[in-house]
């Protein structure tokens, strides 16, 4: 696994950076953190579990819906393993 990213910091999107780590680390900054921080973390954790991956995830969220967060993390993980 290598450090990779997917997404953007445009409105409605989220930039996700994944990097190698022995333990699970999730760092989230979001314009809607107070209201949706837990929900964002939940999507991240569920998606990591689906892919059976332990790594560091840094999220810069600009109001993305759940499907976008899941998609961007999926892309970042594939890039981390394929490229």
């Amino acid at each position: 696994m290598k450090t990779s990213q997917a997404g953007t910091i445009e409105s409605n999107d989220t930039l996700i950076i994944v990097s190698p780590s022995d333990k699970l680390i999730v760092e989230i900054s979001s314009i809607v953190f107070d209201k949706f921080g837990d929900a964002i973390k939940s999507v991240i954790l569920e998606t990591l579990k689906e892919h059976d991956v332990v790594c560091k995830v840094v999220v810069q969220d600009k109001g993305a819906y759940d499907y976008t967060i899941k998609a961007r993390l999926t892309t970042a993980l594939r890039r981390a393993h394929n490229e």
Binding site: A6, G7, E10, S11, N12, D13, A64, Y65, Y67, T68, K70, A71, R72, T74, T75, R78, R79
Partner: protein, 267 residues
């Protein structure tokens, strides 16, 4: 179907708001609107989005079937989409696409070969319409696009005839100057006048203009209603409505207008 809106497949804001602009069909674009480095990202985004929604008349413009297109069809074919818009269509390309899907197909006519073999392309099973790709076609015949589209004259008119013959939608090329509503109106009126059944667009602001021009007018609806009522009580093949002769072709046009009214009511 009078308007199709192209939506960039890697932009979540546009992807999730595409349905609110009143287009009768949405084409999520994985081809020209997505950079090479983001093809994977767009595919993941659309896949996750389409799992959460269910709309009618949603198509995906795939990439070249001999490159990323096959993988894209495999990704989306189990989801609730209407079908695929197929770039660089040819008989060879359609044969390949048909190996992987039974969903509806809208081939893009954008090469000289496609113009010359339009009928054969349109005859493939599940083709619901054909779309003129004006920009690529102009490039492929080495001419510059003009405001009045004179360089597309032959391809446009041929598309109308072939699609009418095959009973599928003829979809005109997008009007790419998004800051020129006046010329857009003239261009869409021309599309309608020559028999194009729909116009495609790359900007949501163009959709209300396209829909308004394609929508049957009040006068057309009133006359069509009178024709249908008169036809119901007239046994003879020819009769008169408002001083105009009505025969079978006029009755068929009247039925088509009233069908369009119902279609617009759905949108």
């Amino acid at each position: 179907m009078s308007s199709y809106l192209f939506v960039p497949g890697n932009n979540p804001g546009m992807v999730q708001s595409a349905q609110v602009f009143g287009a009768s069909g949405i084409i999520y674009d994985l081809e020209d609107a997505v950079s090479i480095k983001d093809k994977d990202s767009a595919r993941d985004l659309l896949k996750e989005y389409l799992k959460t929604t269910m709309f009618e008349n949603v198509y995906i413009r795939i990439n070249d079937i001999f490159e990323l297109g096959k993988e894209e069809i495999n990704t989306f074919d189990h989801l609730a989409i209407s079908g695929y818009v197929v770039p660089k269509a040819s008989v060879n390309v359609m044969n390949e696409v048909k190996k992987y899907t039974n969903k509806l197909l809208i081939p893009i006519i954008e090469t000289p070969e496609a113009v010359l073999t339009m009928k054969e392309i349109g005859e493939f099973e599940n083709v619901s319409g054909m779309l003129l790709g004006g920009e690529d076609l102009a490039t492929n015949i080495d001419v510059v696009r003009t405001e009045d589209d004179i360089e597309l004259l032959y391809a446009r008119h041929k598309l109308v005839m072939v699609c009418a013959y095959l009973g599928v939608d003829s979809i005109d090329t997008p009007f790419t100057d998004t800051d020129n509503d006046e010329t857009l109106e003239e261009s869409v009126k021309y599309s309608k006048a020559i028999g194009m059944s729909a116009r495609s667009s790359i900007h949501p602001n163009q959709i209300p203009i396209i829909n308004e021009i394609y929508k049957p007018t009040l006068e057309e609806i009133e006359f069509a209603t009178k024709v249908i009522k008169a036809a119901e009580i007239n046994d003879s093949g020819v009769f008169s409505v408002d001083g105009k002769m009505v025969d079978l072709p006029v009755i068929i046009r009247a039925k088509n207008i009233l069908k369009k009214v119902k279609d617009y009511a759905k949108v």
